[in-house]
């Protein structure tokens, strides 16, 4: 059961990573390297999807060792914690900079 869960998590992470990168490449409007017509779509947050995909992929190790509810707690902690660092920094520094 845990192996199935771990494999699913790994695949989901891989999917997010590839999707994030693909959206990023296609959405990049200024790239000289990727002059695709689709480039004008400009999909925001693609880098974030990419980074989240990497986090999910790494969490395969947790899925292999933890119960489902504990795994969900952990992955939520990692993602929310990661974004919270940015959010707290932005909030505090915005206050000071105002």
């Amino acid at each position: 059961m845990r192996s199935v869960m771990a494999a699913s998590v790994g695949l989901l992470g891989l999917l997010l990573t590839v999707s994030g990168l693909a959206l990023w490449v296609l959405g990049d409007q200024t790239s000289a390297l990727v002059p695709l017509p689709l480039a004008i779509t400009g999909i925001p947050w693609a880098p974030l999807i990419w980074v989240l995909g990497i986090i999910v992929m790494l969490s395969t190790a947790l899925a292999q060792t933890l119960r489902v509810k504990n795994y969900i707690m952990w992955i939520a902690l990692l993602v929310v914690g990661y974004l919270a660092v940015f959010a707290v920094l932005v909030s505090f520094t915005s206050l000071i900079l105002q």
């Binding site: 790239s31 880098p47 292999q64 060792t65 707690m73 990692l78 920094l89 900079l97």
Partner: protein, 439 residues
Amino acid sequence: MKKGSIVTADEDSILQPIVKTGRAFYIFVGTLLLLTGWFLFSWYTQLNEGLIVTGMRSIFNAPNYMAPNVSGGSPWGIYLANFVFWIGISHAGIAISASVRLMNLKKYQVVARMAEVLTLVALPMAGLTIIIDLGRPDRIFNMLEFGRFQAPLIWDLTAITTYLMGTVIYLYLSLRGDLDDVALRLPRRQWFYKLLGMNYEGTETDKERHKQTLWWLAVAIVPIMVTVHSVVSFVFGLMVARGGWYSSIFAIYFVIGAIVSGVAAVYSVAWIFRWVYRWQSLITDEVLKGISWALRNVLILYIYLWIAEELTTRYMGPEAELRVSEFLWSGPYAIIFWPMAILGFGLPAIILLKPLFGKRIFNPRLTFLASIILNVTLWVKRFVIVVPSLLNPTLYPTGFYMPTLTEVSITLGTFWIAALLYVAFIKLFPIIELDVVRG
């Protein structure tokens, strides 16, 4: 006997930092908190007044012959040097720990967690330094929203995030088994350890599953580790317009430099723990000697790469490269360069090579001194990589760079915070894996 109960003197000894808190500890932490307060004040000053409080791009550092309104100095200063330094420190942590697992080096398991925690505190400090260097941290989300995948700085963000997440997961899984034992030893904090342990059963199947998962995680994390420092080097090495940077050797040069500073840091930390907690029976001379041998070998490799790089530049380098080299050899930064080369690298090299000759005596204290000197030197080395090239672009020199008190206070602040985080960890969790004394 209850499963996992603490019985041996060695296990008690490992838990010493958690259960015993002396006056020296409070003095140490109090001092660190005061210094961190100074760091926060300095950062507040920088946020409030802008990067003008730093020595970067100051008009006062512009050369005399330029128009007075032209900015001078370097756009990157000690913050960037500090960033590269912390990334370097973060290297050895997982490198040593992963080597212990992948190559079954049981002898060094005693320092594995010390090394992992070093990685865990060093990486956020690297990130913090970059955020400080941005000047406008309120715009940090822009990196995630508008980052361009062609930019090495974005590769950095990705690689460091991946490495940090990998390290957190790796450390948690290696720690999970010990949490159960610590909970039994400290009934008052039991809820905390039980919560973190997340229903760890401690059965043979559970242990085996953790062991296998950690092994595979170690396999995955070693290439990530190499990637992180290679990517840091690409921030410099892919910039064609800067003398002293554009080089194919930079990635390996940075990775080896990182391993030198990381292994030196692990040696320093291990020696300090051994001295403070009298862990001579746990962190034996043999263990320290092994680490010092690794340090010696990578140091020799690093010096070799450095000489190869200098020779290529000095023999027939392009003008911009030669100008940077002259700036270091006989220019304004010679006062940093030569002491760094002779005392910073030469002296530790002699100390580390000494056991190879004569009586082959290994001196842990002298090697500790060498490891400290090496870490200071490698910080300075990163400074002389970053700044002189920026002061000598291809057209004309842009002046001089001297860090201000605010910059120095902020940079030192990352060290106080790192020390605080490390101390917080050792007050909560065993810094040596309990498996070490259980065989």
